[in-house]
Amino acid sequence: MSMLPDLLLVMLVLGAALWTVAARDRRSSVIGFIALGLLLALVWMRLYAVDVALTEAAVGGGATGLLLLRACARLDSIDAGKPSAGRTLQLLIGFCCAAMGVGIAAAALGGPDLPPTLAPAVAANIDAVGLGNPVTVVLLAYRAIDTLLEKIVLIAALVGVWSLAPDDVWGGPPASLKLAKASEPLTFLAQILPPVGFVIGVYLIWNGADEPGGTFQGGTVLAAMWLLVMLAGLAEPPETRRALLQYLVVFGPAVFLISGFSGFWLAEGFLSYPTGFAKTMIVALEVALALSIAVIVAMMLAGPSARTPR
C-alpha cells in the first residue's frame, strides 16, 4: 500500500516529462514542465528532502515557469517550429537514450549494500554551528564556498542577461511586465496576495535556520510577489542603472564575503564562524542573501533593458 502513491507519482512524473518533450506546440510543453515541477516537489517530499521540495516548487513551478511562459508569448509571432528529424534517426537516438537510462540506473542503483554517507559527519559537527536544519548548515558552513560561488554565478548570469540590451537603452528599465489584459480581479489579487506572500517568504527565510526553508526559497517567493505586482501594472520594473538596485544585487554576496574574511581574525579562517556567534551570523547572512536573491531573480525574469533611461 505504501508503494502505491510512489508508483503513481513516478508514472505522473514520467508522463509529464514525455508530454513536455513530445507536445506539439511550445506552450503545452512549457505547461507540462511547470506541472512536472510541482509534481517533483511531491517526489522530494517522499525522499525526505523538504528543503529541496520547497526550492523545486519555488523555482521549477514559479520562477522558471513564468520565464518560459513569457518567452512563449514573445516568440509567438516569430517562428512556428522547424521540421523534425527523420523517423529512423528518432528511433536510433531513442534507443541510445534508453540504453543510457538503463546504464545510469544500473550505475546508480547497483551500489554497495551499505551506502556510504556523510550524515554522521554532519551530525557530529552540527553542534559547533548551533543550527537545527542540517541542510542550512551544509549550505552556509561546511560547503559555504559553493553557496558563495553560486551567488557569483547568479550575478554573472544577470550581467549576461543585462548585456543583451541594445546599446542605446543600456541602463534603462526592462520592458513593462504589465499584462495587456490586466483586469480588476488581477489588480485585486496583486493587492492582497503580496503581503501574505511577503510574510510567507520572510517566514521561510527565518525558519530556514532550524527547519526546512532558507534563503533561496524565501528569496524566490519575495521575487514572485514583486513580479505579481509588476504583472498587474501596479509597479514598473526599475532602471537597471539605478544605484539602489545595483547595491541590492551585490549586498548579499558582499556581506558574505566580509563575514568570510572576518573569519581570518575572529575565527579559524576564511568562511568559519566564531564560536557562539555562528547562528547569529548565519541568520543575518541569510537575510542579506535572500534580499539580493529576490532582486536578482526578479530582474532576471524581467529581462534586459528595453527602454531608454530617463
Partner: protein, 111 residues
C-alpha cells in the same frame, strides 16, 4: 524502504533519458533548454536517491546531497534565464532588422 528509492532511481534515469532524447532531437532552442532542465531534474533526483539510501545518524536522508541539489537548481535556473534572454534577443533581432537604426521611434511606442 529500499524499494522506494529504487523506484525513484528508475524515475530519475527515465527523466535523464527523456531529457537527452528531447535535447538531441529538438531544433527549437526553447524546447532544448526545457529538455536540458529535464535532464537536470533527473540528475538532482539521482542525488536525492543517493541521499535517501544513505540515511543515517538520526537523519532520514543525508543532508549533503540536498544542499548540492539546491545549489544545482539555482545554477540551472540561472542557465535557463540566460538562454531564454539570448533566444528572445535573437528573435527580436531577426524580426526587426531596423532595430538598431530607429531607437527613438521604438521608444515612443513602448512608452
Amino acid at each position: 524502504m529500499s524499494d522506494v528509492t529504487t523506484l525513484y532511481g528508475l524515475c530519475a534515469s527515465g527523466l535523464i533519458a527523456i531529457g537527452i532524447y528531447g535535447f538531441s532531437l529538438q531544433s527549437e532552442p526553447l524546447r532544448r533548454i526545457i529538455s536540458f532542465n529535464l535532464i537536470g531534474t533527473g540528475v538532482f533526483l539521482l542525488f536525492g536517491v543517493a541521499a535517501r539510501r544513505a540515511a543515517a545518524a538520526g537523519f532520514l536522508a543525508d543532508p549533503v546531497p540536498h544542499a548540492m541539489v539546491i545549489t544545482g537548481i539555482v545554477v540551472a535556473f540561472a542557465a535557463t534565464a540566460l538562454t531564454v534572454a539570448l533566444i528572445l534577443r535573437l528573435a527580436e533581432l531577426n524580426t526587426d532588422p531596423e532595430e538598431n537604426i530607429q531607437p527613438e521611434a521604438r521608444d515612443e511606442k513602448s512608452a
